[in-house]
């Protein structure tokens, strides 16, 4: 342990840095590829705007997931929470845009706080708690919506949320960028941010150092829930409705984006801005598929989407595992 931890940890750090740069390079390359191959239509403001507006909700979910994963946890409930957030926001949209938005976020944060309580107070494993919550919250969302698709009250102005633009970009996109910038500052320059990384790096040591492990862990899940709720609000406002399958599989996209962005799945090392790169990269791939199909040269079924996402996760996970693994054949594995 003493002799091999050293080069291994250095390799992890180095590898993750390379991975982050790799993701950024891949993003740039794909954008250039898109511009060259699809020309005008791809590069127009419209496509970029709608792409970024669309990405916002995935970005928000992935941002929350980044912090959760950095503590060494995981939140599988985000998809269902987004659906709940959307449904609740739409139900409240009859009172106006702001109450709807706040209600959606609050609903998400409430679910997050239940996750957090179960994980910190009852000391249950995060993945199983949030898996149970994935099930239960979808049930709740369907129940609130009356098992139909929830439709926003007409004239509530709820749909406008996704139409608003500032400086040529949708509000949602701005919000995403601001959220990520704030996340990066929080991670680097606040106690809470450092504690998130410390807990993911060594939870026992953090406890002995007197860090408020339970409180930080709890807030991480509340944050994740709240952001998922907010993502649900945007989903609802984009479509004007939330259907029963809304948010399904989001947990995987978010995890994939986080991991692609070079955050260690076992916690302790992470980067907020690289998660943003991960989100943009993954979404861009699907955008390119749409463009490719529109050229009618070869058609790629939309079912490939989940396969590609899975393949991406596979590749990145294998890369990370190679970094973290010890050389020894019989060792203690995380």
């Amino acid at each position: 342990m003493t002799t091999s931890a050293l080069p291994r940890a250095r390799r992890v750090h180095l590898g993750l840095t390379l991975q982050r740069q790799g993701a950024l390079i891949a993003l740039v390359v794909l954008v250039i590829f898109g511009m060259l191959r699809y020309g005008e239509r791809f590069a127009t403001g419209y496509n970029m705007r709608s792409l970024l507006g669309d990405d916002a909700k995935y970005g928000l979910v992935a941002l929350g997931m980044t912090f959760v994963i950095m503590t060494g946890g995981i939140d599988l409930s985000v998809g269902s929470v987004a659906a709940l957030g959307g449904v609740v926001a739409i139900e409240f949209s009859s009172h106006g845009l702001l109450p709807g938005l706040l209600a959606g976020v609050a609903a998400g944060a409430a679910v997050g706080s239940i996750n957090g309580l179960l994980i910190t107070k009852l000391k249950l494993q995060p993945f199983i708690v949030t898996l149970a919550m994935l099930l239960a919250v979808r049930g709740l969302a369907l129940n609130v919506a009356g098992t139909r698709a929830a439709v926003a009250a007409p004239g509530s102005g709820f749909e406008k949320l996704s139409d608003w633009q500032a400086l040529g970009l949708p509000v949602a996109a701005w919000l995403m960028f601001i959220a990520f910038a704030a996340g990066a500052v929080v991670l680097r320059y606040t106690k809470w941010g450092r504690q998130v990384l410390a807990i993911g790096g060594n939870v026992d040591a953090s406890r002995l150092m007197g860090l408020p492990v339970s409180r930080v862990t709890f807030t991480v899940y509340v944050l994740s829930g709240g952001l998922a709720g907010l993502a649900g609000v945007f989903l609802g406002s984009q479509n004007g409705s939330v259907d029963t399958a809304a948010g399904q599989g989001w947990e995987l996209s978010a995890i994939a984006a986080v991991v692609v962005g070079g955050t260690l799945l076992t916690g302790g090392i992470g980067s907020v801005l690289s998660t943003l790169v991960g989100v943009l990269l993954l979404q861009l791939i699907f955008n390119l598929i749409v463009f490719e199909n529109s050229k009618h040269v070869l058609t790629i079924s939309s079912y490939w989407e989940s396969v590609i996402r899975g393949a991406f996760l596979l590749v990145v996970v294998l890369l990370q595992v190679r970094l973290v693994r010890r050389r020894s054949a019989v060792g203690r594995q995380a």
Partner: protein
């Protein structure tokens, strides 16, 4: 904490008995052959089969989230082959073979590459459904082939075939876990993998085999589902099965952290959860609320397990 240990070991069984007695008194026609065999046990059988495989994987301190997707893949493969005029035996064998290959994929990621089980199986959980959808372009395939559909529709001696299959699977699994070296290895790898390897246990092979068994059983259930529905439906086959199976395992004594496996517990857990769900729905509680209660039951079961050091 004696009561928690008791609740953990016999809680599911006790709940099952209570629900059973309650229904016997309260629900008309509950104690009929039709209701017991063709509703309760027939519905519980597929969950029980998957739960048995899940219990073994969980025994190695793993988890398999991909069972639902594997069901969809196997159902698609089987139905497509039959519809293209291949023999029943070929269709079933290939479908289950593909499922086993999925298990080998999961197992290799976990054992060979050391990926956390939840992440490793998450990959097939999402990609697997896409693969299933790609096989038929997401279309529903109507199916009518009595030979092939025996697994879902057969009635030997008036008992639904899937109940018999579930029983056979459970008995076999129980014997394997109890009597064979592999069975011992599962719990020792789940209890302390490093120590097991240093005692010469081929932990990698044990884990791969566990995931293969789990996926194979999921594949079998995929065929049952497709047969019973008279159609293969890549979008819905096996949706949520991973949760049902994990819940069935968790409520009845298998530690989710590995090192202990109770096959009959998984079967009892499956029947109990199904009966609970049916009872709730029969009393006008919506399926969605029932889903929420199932989530709560899993958390409660975990809470009880927590007390074990």
């Amino acid at each position: 904490m004696q009561w928690t240990r008791w609740a953990q070991q016999y809680g599911a069984l006790a709940t099952l008995v209570v629900l059973f007695v309650y229904n016997a008194i309260d629900t008309p026609f509950f104690l009929t052959r039709q209701s017991l065999l063709f509703v309760l046990l027939r519905q519980a059988a597929p969950i029980a089969i998957v739960a048995v495989g899940m219990a073994i994987v969980i025994g190695t301190a793993g988890i398999d989230l991909s069972v639902g997707s594997v069901m969809a893949i196997s159902g698609q493969v089987g139905a497509t082959l039959v519809l293209h005029g291949h023999g029943t035996a070929v269709a079933i064998a290939l479908a289950i073979g593909v499922a086993a290959a999925c298990g080998a994929f999961n197992g290799t990621l976990v054992a060979r590459f050391g990926v956390q089980p939840i992440i490793a199986t998450l990959i097939l959980f999402i990609a697997g459904r896409g693969i299933a959808q790609l096989i038929t372009g997401g279309e529903l395939q109507p199916l009518s082939n009595p030979g092939f559909q025996w697994v879902g529709l057969g009635r030997p001696a008036g008992i639904p075939a899937q109940i018999i299959i579930a029983l056979v699977v459970a008995v076999l699994a129980w014997l394997v876990m109890r009597l064979t070296v592999f069975g011992r290895y599962v719990t020792s790898v789940g209890g302390n993998e490093t120590a097991s390897r240093l005692a010469g246990v081929p932990s990698g092979r044990v884990k791969v085999l566990a995931y293969v068994i789990c996926a194979t059983l999921a594949g079998l259930v995929g065929l049952i589902a497709v047969s019973a529905n008279f159609a293969s439906d890549a979008n819905n086959t096996g949706q949520g099965m991973e949760l049902d199976a994990i819940a069935a395992v968790a409520v009845a004594g298998t530690r989710l952290t590995g090192g202990r496996v109770t096959i009959w517990g998984a079967v009892i857990g499956a029947v109990m959860l199904k009966l609970l769900q049916n009872t709730l729905i029969a009393h006008g509680i919506t399926k969605e609320v029932a889903q929420m209660i199932e989530g709560a039951v899993i958390v409660a079961a975990l809470y009880l397990q927590r007390h074990e050091a």
